[in-house]
Amino acid sequence: MDVQLTVNGETTRLDVEPRRTLADALREDLGLTGTHLGCEHGVCGACTVLVDGAPARACLMFAVQADGADVTTVEGLQDDDGGLHPLQEAFVAHHGLQCGFCTPGMLLTAAHLLETHPDADRETIRAEMAGNICRCTGYQGIVDAVQAAGRDQSRSST
């Protein structure tokens, strides 16, 4: 089936089998391997992307369903000069990652969190990030990173 996707601002057309998940279309057809696949049944959160601005599991959506949608992947977080997103900087600074497998999903979940809850406290951050599993960090560094990025964001917007 023919689908049209706008991924990280760029519009492309793809011919996919209906059973191709959005995650596989991004990785295999578009070469955007930043979206990771852990469990492939909705539990781990590694494949989280933004679909029309809202976080969604790319493993639980067929590419044909995203026809006409606007998708943001981790590759779309960098700024125009190719520099890291403030959240990515914060993850580096606060040990928010070790192996990095969960990181793309963590970053997109966090990006949406800071947009919808600009002054999220630690409890809100923990609750909102609970759908993303990390087997390395023990989460402390991730919560620290999101909180720090949130603080910087509100400081620069005042």
Binding site: M1, E17, P18, R19, T21, D24, C39, E40, H41, G42, G45, T48, V51, A54, P55, A56, R57, C59, L60, M61, F62, V64, Q65, T109, H112, L113, R126, A127, E128, A130, G131
Partner: protein, 270 residues
């Protein structure tokens, strides 16, 4: 962990969806939020040959309020139910479903049709005496939520029927309590207390194949008994089964505690 091949149909009306289901003769499935169906297909526990994607049918995600109830279209996402403030009990329950990335996609109709014994919305539907509107080859019919759930993940829906909307009456008083292992996990026990005029209803989820009313607990309350006595009665009248998430005594104890907490939130009656 990849789904088996299927034909994908994207109808633009309920009639077209029903016709497609009928033609699939039992081998078709509605695709709504996909948050329960796609995992099941990825694990090859289901291999429908036709998927009927209802996401682009107009008018299915409306939320209408009247003096007594909230009517939600089948395609209303959990996130929208959580955000509305016309039916606070429904908003609270929706907020307990999974995680944000699940609630942005999952739908009210999908949750009721999936009929997971631990799901929040079926419990609220039974607790509020919701009415489910269903479209089939012969047109529309209405069903009491209590009659929709016929057992573990089974409903009274025929293969060629589709839920189009659900009407959730608004209780005068309510209390909600849930116990889950971690934030966003499926509930081990959910207790919902609802008051419509006189008396209180006590409804439990997670303790049997489908949501159940705790009639003994309701009688205790009607007779002027304490919340503690009602909670005790509820824990004794249910028939939970043991699984890896908890033993029978543990589930009884959790049911009692959730009933007690839900009642505490209702506050004293008039």
């Amino acid at each position: 962990m990849k789904c088996a091949p299927f034909d994908y149909v994207r109808p633009s009306s309920v009639e077209e969806a029903v016709t497609t289901l009928r033609q699939a003769a039992g081998d078709g499935k509605i695709l709504a939020g996909g948050q329960s169906l796609v995992p099941v297909m990825a694990m090859r526990m289901a291999r429908p040959s036709v998927l009927v994607d209802v996401n682009r049918i107009p008018g299915l995600s409306s939320v209408e309020v009247d003096a007594r109830a909230l009517r939600v279209g089948a395609l209303t996402r959990h996130a929208l139910l959580e955000a509305q403030d016309e039916h606070p009990l429904l908003a609270e329950a929706a907020g307990w479903i999974g995680h944000t990335a699940i609630r942005t996609r999952g739908t009210a109709g999908g949750s009721l049709a999936h009929a997971d014994p631990s799901a929040e919305l079926p419990v609220v539907a039974v607790a509020t005496g919701a009415t489910v509107t269903v479209a089939g080859p012969d047109g529309l019919r209405e069903l009491d939520a209590a009659d929709l759930f016929t057992g573990m993940m089974t409903t009274a829906l025929a293969d060629d029927e589709m839920i189009t909307s659900v009407r959730f009456p608004r209780p005068d008083r309510w209390g909600f309590a849930e116990f889950a292992r971690r934030h966003g996990d499926f509930a081990l026990v959910t207790a919902v207390v609802t008051g419509f005029g006189d008396g209180l209803r006590v409804t439990l989820g997670g303790v049997s194949a489908a949501p159940v009313r705790a009639h003994a607990a309701e009688e205790v309350l009607a007779g002027g008994g304490t919340a503690r006595d009602a909670a005790q009665a509820a824990s004794q009248e249910i028939e939970p089964t043991a699984d890896l998430h908890g033993s029978v005594p543990f589930r009884r104890a959790m049911a009692a505690e959730m009933v007690r907490r839900a009642l505490a939130r209702v506050g004293p009656g008039e």
